[in-house]
Amino acid sequence: MSIAILLLTLTLGAYFIAVIEGWAVHGRFSLTRPALSAVALFGRESLLARTPDRLFFEAAPVLLLVAGLLAVAVIPLAPGLIIADLATGALFLNAALAYVLVALIMAGWGPNGGYAMIGGWRFLGQFIAYAMLIVMPITAVAMRAESLSTTMIVTSQADLWNVFYQPLGFVLFVLAAMGLAWLPPLDLPNAPGDLAGGVEAEYTGVRLAVLRLARMVIILALAGAIVTFYLGGWLGPWLPGWAWSVIKMLVVTTVMLTTGRLVPRVREADLLAAGWKLGIPLALANIFLVGVIALVVDI
């Protein structure tokens, strides 16, 4: 039963993301267009590029989807409403999302085309910039909860949400999450303006549908992670826990999908410089501060 509810939430969440993204990209809010696009994609040819690396080309969208689904599995919507309540949930999330890099490089390599390949390798560079900023803020969150279990992390925020307890970590994690989900302004691997679709450029039909769905699941997983780690998960007054989780996730996805489009796409070199010269010292400072607070104050 809980699995069914979770799957329903996942489906609706992914659809919501498609609606918001359509609104952000095309300037029109349409509840039906994503459904039409999806149906239309299923009717189109799934073309193969000229001399593809067939295995990589076919496997990449599926791998991306699997990585997203695995990450979703450890996000709790409410106490007991979680697919897998692992003791190492936070670590598992991180491990699952590591395959996003693999999948994107495969997607870039597979079709044997210039745009896609540059997009794939660009994401490798982007990974180097965001990877530490996913792990290090999670470390600080786990320090406070004294557990890597995602449900324990939520309950540890009963008195004070982590967004207030460790705001620095929150900001870094959100930015890194946008990098991981290649959302604008960190959409370097598919950069519509300078790579004409990049890693997505050679995918058509069903494969493209899977690729786009996978990306939505990843965005959803990351929004769930942000809510779980920083925004108190299901905690909230009046409404049932799952409702709070869903509301918070929708707000987070909307912010992630829309705000980044107000700034130009970040240059790869600038992204790497910011990630390493600024991001990592700040993440270390965050861990240090959280450690000091955890020792001194009892919340």
Partner: protein, 671 residues
């Protein structure tokens, strides 16, 4: 949809899918969305989504009649679209070699909406058909050529062996047609220095006469033969190894000295050493296995001074997977023998010293971030520009012979869809100068106002394209909407919209992180022949309007900026929009230039007009009231030659920003 339908019986499910497709039309615009906007088409309002690549489109939208080269390129783009696909042609006289359009209309917004309604019906009914015809055109023909995995410069039309190393050539698809397609085809770098023998086979010519020699394959060291010949696994020439005397089991130093002392090619060759493809620091004088990873050592030419060279840079990247660039892998070649040390040895190294595979990627003529019709072929070294080839697919000389002045003005304006008013003005002025007539002050001022209105629209159109390129979707939408609302607006409407336009430009300048993205990019050195906003953005007072009595009367003064980079050009264009708004307000009247009746004039006339991209120059020659020749120098001609230097060694995104900031128009450029 003869060539566009997908095979399948029209079942209920397929009807449903076709219905969804008809409502989810995604267009790939040729020559480009810049031209569509300049022609007054509001694609978003008509309900068309734009695709960045033909792979994601189901409608090929043809805007206006395309020159032949561009039609060939459009054919390639059409062939890349997944079926079901359709063609929507607006105001296009001829489409061949493209198949016939599925819906047509005049080149207006009304025409677009009506044609789109037709197209939706066609798609809903014809997306699936029981019998479909494959689409084929000469522009799509490819041929198979054969190339050596180790020596990409070796290209042959027939299968065979590589003349350099003897390996079996591998088949590779190559385009038979010349026009640059949208689709990037990875091609082997044709920029390698001429055949330099690989170290691995450097000894192949030195057969030993007296001492017993053995032969081995540079790729398959387990292949040992007593006679020269070809490798049974890959067909490469076997190379001699210095055979150890039979029964001699020692591996100590003495053997080596002994061996080298009596070597038959001491004088002319460097001694053979062996190294591990993965661990270049492992150097051995004898073949064997790597102590670190167990791989077979491969022979190298000993270069004592070069042990720490760049050859083993990990960034050598994907070249190692020969199967990727060349097609099917050859049976029996184990990939790890494609050692990076060998494969990158003769490759050109870029400024950063890293040796990477060079790939040639076409950007354009329909690339979403560049002006439509501009074919930019970039050779990429990793993601940096190693070589640039620029080509206009919409250029060529101006046909004028025998035209009447009125026909010429229309024709000339249509040949530059991005600045039609300025070119009308240019043609009218040139014709009037030939006839030594001049319009009255009021007409001249009204014409100037029309040129200024187009400047505003053109700069906004540039801003929309530039915003799309840099990922600023909101800015693209707003700029496009403002361009469409202003480019045909009368004076009072322009005045009414001026405040909101200024507010928009203010917001554009204040966009966060714009400085980080643009500052310092695309700088052109001093003394280069720059014109128009690009020149003024670096402080050069270059403006054909200066000194023109019409503009003097309107109080025109040249606006210049400083910096000369992409950011300065953005600011410059924003400033010029503001200035043009003022000029129009002062002119109070606006009329698009119309050719006057100049009678049966014989003579020559010339004119220069400051178009949105800089000064354009036209010389016309008339005989008895008809045109004989017209010589046109478009403003972008000055900038196109600067491109290669401008983007050399830049990262691809930076390079495209730099190109975009120049606001090139490929229309009318010398072919």
């Amino acid at each position: 949809m003869m060539h566009g339908a997908r095979t399948g019986m029209r079942t209920g499910l397929r009807r449903l899918i076709a219905g969804a497709m008809a409502r989810d039309l995604c267009a790939f615009v040729v020559p480009g969305s810049d031209v569509a906007r300049a022609r007054g088409l509001d694609l978003a309002r008509a309900g068309l989504h734009l695709a960045a690549t033909p792979r994601h489109a189901n409608v090929l939208l043809v805007v206006g009649t395309l020159p032949p080269d561009l039609r060939d390129a459009a054919t390639v783009a059409y062939a890349q679209m997944p079926r079901p696909r359709a063609i929507l042609a607006l105001g296009a006289d001829t489409l061949a070699p493209l198949p016939a359009a599925d819906a047509t209309g005049p080149l207006t917004q009304v025409g677009l909406v009506a044609a789109l309604a037709d197209l939706r019906r066609v798609v809903a009914n014809g997306a699936f058909a029981a019998k479909v015809t494959d689409f084929d055109a000469p522009a799509l023909q490819t041929r198979i050529e054969y190339t050596c995995p180790m020596h990409p410069e070796v290209i042959s039309d027939e299968p065979g062996n590589c003349p350099i190393c003897g390996m079996t050539l591998m088949p590779k698809e190559a385009s038979a047609s010349s026009p640059a397609a949208h689709q990037p085809k990875q091609s082997a770098p044709a920029h390698q220095p001429p055949a330099v023998a690989h170290a691995a086979h450097g000894h192949s010519t030195h057969t030993a006469a007296e001492t017993p020699a053995q032969y081995t394959c540079p790729m398959h060291l387990e292949v040992i033969s007593d006679e020269p010949g070809n490798c049974p696994k890959c067909g490469m020439f076997l190379v001699p190894v210095d055979a150890k005397p039979v029964g001699h089991s020692g591996h100590d130093h003495h053997d080596h000295h002994d061996h080298h002392d009596h070597s038959k090619h001491v004088a002319t060759e460097t001694p053979t050493q062996y190294t591990c493809p993965m661990h270049p620091e492992v150097i051995s004088d004898e073949p064997g296995s790597c102590p670190k990873c167990g791989m077979f050592l491969v022979p190298v030419e000993a270069k004592p001074e070069d042990h720490s060279g760049h050859d083993h840079d990990g960034h050598a990247g994907h070249e190692g997977h020969a199967g990727h660039s060349g097609g099917p892998a050859i049976d029996g070649i184990e990939p790890h023998f494609m050692s990076m040390v060998n494969l990158t040895r003769d490759m050109p190294a870029s400024a950063d010293g890293l040796k990477m595979e060079w790939i040639e990627v076409p950007f354009g003529p329909f690339f979403p971030g560049l002006p439509g019709g501009l074919g930019l072929t970039l050779t990429l070294d990793g993601d940096a520009i190693a070589e640039t080839r620029v080509q206009s697919l919409v250029g060529g000389s101006i046909a004028a012979d025998g035209l009447t002045p009125a026909e010429f003005v229309e024709r000339f304006a249509d040949q530059s869809p991005l600045c039609r008013v300025a070119n009308r003005q240019l043609a009218c002025l040139a014709l009037e100068n030939a006839a030594s007539v001049a319009p009255d002050a009021r007409t001249a001022t009204a014409r100037a106002a029309a040129v200024e209105r187009e400047r505003i629209a053109s700069h906004l159109g540039w801003l929309a394209s530039f915003a799309a390129q840099t990922g600023l979707v909101w800015m693209e939408r707003r700029a496009a909407a403002k361009q469409l609302s202003i480019q045909a607006a009368p004076v009072d409407q322009i005045a009414a919209n001026a405040a909101s336009l200024r507010a928009f430009l203010h917001r554009v300048r204040k966009t966060p992180l714009l400085r980080a993205k643009l500052a310092g990019n695309g700088r052109i050195g001093e003394g280069k022949p720059v014109v128009g906003p690009v020149a003024r953005a670096q402080g050069v007072q270059s403006d054909a309007r200066a000194g023109d009595w019409v503009y003097d009367a309107l109080g025109f003064q040249v606006v210049t900026g400083t910096g000369g980079d992409a950011l300065a050009r953005l600011h410059q264009r924003c400033d010029e929009i503001n200035q043009s708004l003022e000029l129009i307000a002062r002119a109070k009247e606006l009329s698009v230039p119309e050719p006057q009746n100049i009678g049966t004039v014989t003579g020559q006339g010339q004119a220069t007009v400051e178009t949105p991209r800089g000064a354009a120059h036209l010389v016309v020659e008339l005989l008895g009231g008809k045109l004989v020749t017209a010589t046109y120098r478009p403003p972008s001609a000055a900038h196109i030659d600067l491109l290669a230097d401008l983007i050399q060694a830049q990262e691809i995104a930076d390079a495209l920003v730099a190109v975009g900031s120049l606001d090139l128009s490929p229309w009318g450029l010398p072919a």
